[in-house]
Amino acid sequence: MSATLAAPAPLRAASWSRRWSRPLKGLAGVLLLLAAWQVSVPLVGMSSYFYPSPADVIASFTELTRKGILPVYLADSLLRYLTGLTVGALLGVGVGVLIGLNRTASLALSPLFRFLFAVVEVAWIPIFVVWFGYGIKTIILALIYVVFFPVLYNTLLGVRTAPQILVNAVRSLGANRWQVLRLVILPSALPGIITGLRVGAGFAFRGLVFAEIIAAKTGIGYLIFEGTQSQQTARTIVGMIVMGLLWLAIDQFYLRPIERATIERWGLTVDAEQRT
């Protein structure tokens, strides 16, 4: 029975090839870049302070791990990032739903939010430092600020584009405002919220580096800054690579699957794979 249901061998091979060809091509690109980098070091002929080789960076990574610096910085950065992302997203969704459903709130708050959206978080960080000092409060506030606006605007879009026909249908069945919100508006807005979250999560990563450079004594952003200050450029590059890999992992293992699942469950398409 199982033999009749199993996919034919050529089909299985094609599926395997399709599944692995993208990551393998990506890996080949990275290896090619590393090889070109390593080969270019003797050709450039500069000191490792100006132009560290991949071997220097690997040695620096090992040293930072052996000395316990990298795990602590990574944990600190992740904690700040997740806290800022969670609070910023919750606030963005809450305010987005409020503005989306309430015309008075929309009229009162929209100009203010449009103005604040234009003032980037880097401009706020010095003020936050004056108000809250150096440390975790300032960093988390900067992250909340960065995440809030993309989530807010995407939530707002989702709420305003909820199908009116479904709202009317649920109302005609006797649903109250809370039920309309829970059964129609929030599920309709969910794909937008998740898209906003993904955009905000990317912005938050940049915000984290800025905030840690200015207002922290630990964290990956601080490592990037401190590496050049102490003439250990390889450490700076380790920080940059860790930051990039961390973002790739968060996007690949969390944001993309969640977005795909949300779109498939509540969105307008059945196969969200095509969208990513």
Binding site: K67, G68, I69, A249, F253, P257, I258, A261, R265
Partner: protein, 101 residues
């Protein structure tokens, strides 16, 4: 549908648990000879390498760092809880009592 996030979270939690467990077991091993611990005491904490600013700042949170000589940091007035925190760090090699200045 959300198997990948669940799996990734499980891996991260497992790694964090192993890291914590390794720290606890390491601390027990490093402090075995010092038991019972007095309420407050002075210690010489030796690292596997000369301490950087990062290590000195972390140790400063646990007591009064009064001197750094080669790989050893001399700390006064450490409580048992602070000593356990220091011993859990895998980059701490040995901890011995120190008479102080």
């Amino acid at each position: 549908m959300l198997r990948l996030p669940a799996l990734a979270t499980a891996c991260v939690l497992a790694a964090a648990l192993l890291y914590w467990l390794a720290g606890v077991l390491g601390a027990q091993h490093k402090l075995a000879a010092l038991e019972p611990l007095p309420p407050r005491a002075n210690y010489a904490v030796t690292l596997a390498f000369p301490p950087e600013r990062f290590h000195q700042l972390r140790l400063q949170d646990k007591g009064r760092v009064v001197e750094v000589r080669k790989r050893t940091v001399y700390i006064m007035d450490m409580s048992p809880a602070a000593l356990h925190d220091v011993a859990r760090e895998y980059w701490v090699d040995t901890i011995v009592p120190w008479a102080g200045r």
